[in-house]
């Protein structure tokens, strides 16, 4: 069935990837899902130095969604290269490494280190994490900072660069255009929305960090709208993320202009979700007599 694709020069057997931070480095989910069947694996954000993350509680369920305030907890790049990459090397699926830093130079340093690893097929720049003071939103909410960051990383590596955008902006197309102009090979959107939840009985914040990022079905309509707006203004591929739970959701993103999608929160509810989505896309193509999913991209009317 027509699902093969190439995004930013990365060849994939289907356009369904797993979103950063919702699949770890693949090891735990591999007990429940065949990693070889995924379009690509995007690993949890890695930083140069280990990060402790935010104080608990870090999770709060909301209506058809969830808030998280993980705060990019990770063991740093050397641990990642030594432990996570060898595991992922056992699979045929392309690995895209999501990176973040406090400065453009840190992103560039990470990019250089990862360029030496043959199994890394691309980088996703996280400039959109709402849960940390540094290495997130301060780049993704300012078009000059976005542009400067992407240019710096572009000089440091030949790997395909996907820039992951934040929805916490007034006009996402401004940031998307800046990233594209600075040399991004693709844009992915959206990361989580900054949110908050308070327990009415105890009068306490439900998250240790007070604020967190909203994800899941609740954010899907906004994600679809932002993908549609962005696809109108950039020529590079747009990757849709946000609340995708099933095949129909994925189709909606293709119609809005996404060339591929990432499955996030759905992995927590059903580790098989990405594979079920692949199957449901195939069924949709069959039902609508389409030979390739690409015939759907941007075809909303």
């Amino acid at each position: 069935m027509g699902l093969k694709t190439e995004i930013a020069g990365i060849k994939m057997k289907n356009p369904v990837m797993v979103a950063s931070g919702t699949f770890g480095y693949g090891e735990e989910p591999s007990k429940y899902v065949d990693l070889n069947q995924l379009g690509a694996i995007i690993t949890k954000t890695v930083t140069l130095e280990p990060r402790e993350g935010n104080p608990p509680p870090r999770i709060c369920e909301t209506s058809s969604g969830m808030l998280n305030s993980i705060g990019l907890q990770n063991k740093g790049i050397s641990d990642f290269v030594n432990l996570a990459l060898p595991f992922l090397a056992k699979f045929k699926t392309p690995v895209i490494v999501n990176i973040a830093g406090d400065s453009p130079e840190q992103y560039a340093k990470l990019a250089k280190i990862l360029s030496r690893e043959p199994i890394v097929k691309g980088l996703e720049l996280n400039i959109s994490c709402p849960n940390v003071k540094k290495g997130g939103l301060q780049f993704g909410t300012d078009h000059d900072a976005t542009s400067n960051l992407v240019k710096t990383v572009r000089k440091a590596t030949n790997l395909p660069l996907i820039v992951k955008l934040s929805p916490n902006v007034t006009d996402i197309t401004v940031i998307a255009k800046a990233a594209a102009k600075a040399g991004a090979d693709a844009i992915s959107l959206i990361n989580t929305f900054l949110g908050m939840s308070i327990d009415a009985e105890t009068k306490h914040f439900n998250l240790g960090a007070k604020t967190g990022g909203l994800s899941g079905p609740a954010i899907k309509p906004v994600a679809v709208r932002m993908v549609w707006q962005t696809a109108q203004v950039v020529k590079i591929p747009v990757i849709g993320v946000g609340g995708i739970m099933n095949g129909n959701d994925a189709i909606e993103f293709f119609l809005a202009g996404a060339s591929a999608i990432e499955v996030g929160t759905a992995n927590f509810i059903d580790p098989q979700a990405p594979l079920k989505i692949v199957k449901e896309i195939e069924e949709y193509l069959k039902k609508h007599n389409l030979s390739h999913y690409k015939a759907l991209i941007g075809k909303v009317n």
């Binding site: 919702t22 770890g24 949890k44 608990p56 870090r58 369920e61 969830m66 998280n68 993980i70 907890q73």
Partner: protein, 264 residues
């Protein structure tokens, strides 16, 4: 290996006004599960509630290839779960997490359960009886609850344990007071035989038990809780503070050495 599987409901009993005992079929789980582990259940195919709900393994019934959960209805997820019927299938991930670890030599096993915290301790006690007939461990169960109507599994413990001590906050059954105070009063007359404490219950109780264990130099394992998203160790959402940094309740736990935890 843990699995994602549809488990058939064999029995679903209401044992108190808000408490249910759910019996499910799973050969894999019965084979693999250790006391202290849990399952993560998708209670609804709708998106609200969105996340799975974690419940401890309460009993393993090997001869029926079945396992039991004991849960209290506290919110919308457990309310939906309580409506399910024998013959229905539930989407379950498990067994998950680390279990209790058992010492190799003969022990006085001290179980301390508060409220619904008794659930995994029944599984532990049965396993000890089942697997360690030779060591002849003495099992002493301390169980506590707010009031008599909320004290569960007394019968189960009376069948397995050598001694069962009970407390209720309001004095309606057993001694009046917290189960941690009951443990404290009995430990002062504790002899020098090797002992271990296994505790599950509300946070404040576990903290109190942990202090008692430390003062009496008794090894203590506690089963902790946290809000979970994935339940399998990928999201980093369920961490608690330990002397070795943040640890994941779903994956490094839910059972921890009490001495490792940094209590708030």
């Amino acid at each position: 290996m843990p699995k994602q599987e549809n488990c058939r409901i064999l029995q679903h009993q209401q044992i108190a006004s808000t408490v249910f005992k759910l019996t499910l079929s799973s050969p894999n789980l019965c084979q693999e599960a250790k006391p202290g582990q849990f399952v993560n259940i998708r209670v609804s195919s709708k998106y609200d509630p969105l996340l799975r709900r974690p419940l401890s393994l309460h009993r393993i019934i090997k001869k029926d290839n079945a396992f039991q959960l004991l849960y209290e209805v506290v919110g919308k997820g457990t309310a939906i779960l309580s409506q399910t019927k024998p013959g229905d299938d539930l989407d379950i991930l498990g067994p998950l997490g680390s279990g209790f670890s058992l010492p190799s030599e003969k022990q006085t096993i001290i179980l301390v359960g508060g409220g619904m915290g008794v659930a995994p301790l029944v599984n532990l006690a049965e396993k000890i009886k089942d697997q360690r007939p030779k060591t002849k461990d003495q099992i002493i169960a301390f169980i506590g609850a707010g009031t008599k109507a909320k004290l569960y599994c007394e019968k189960d413990f009376k069948q397995i344990a050598d001694k069962v001590l009970i407390s209720t906050d309001d004095g309606s059954h057993g001694e009046k007071g917290f189960v941690s105070d009951l443990l404290y009063s009995r430990l002062t007359i504790h002899d020098s035989r090797p002992a271990s404490i296994y505790a599950c219950g509300p946070y404040a109780m576990l903290e109190a038990i942990s202090n008692i264990a430390r003062k009496n130099k008794i090894p203590c394992q506690v089963s902790m809780e946290a809000k979970m998203a994935c339940g399998i160790g990928t999201c980093m959402g369920c961490v608690i503070k330990t002397k070795n940094g943040y640890k994941k309740v779903c994956d490094d736990g839910p059972v921890f050495d009490a001495a490792e935890i940094i209590w708030d």
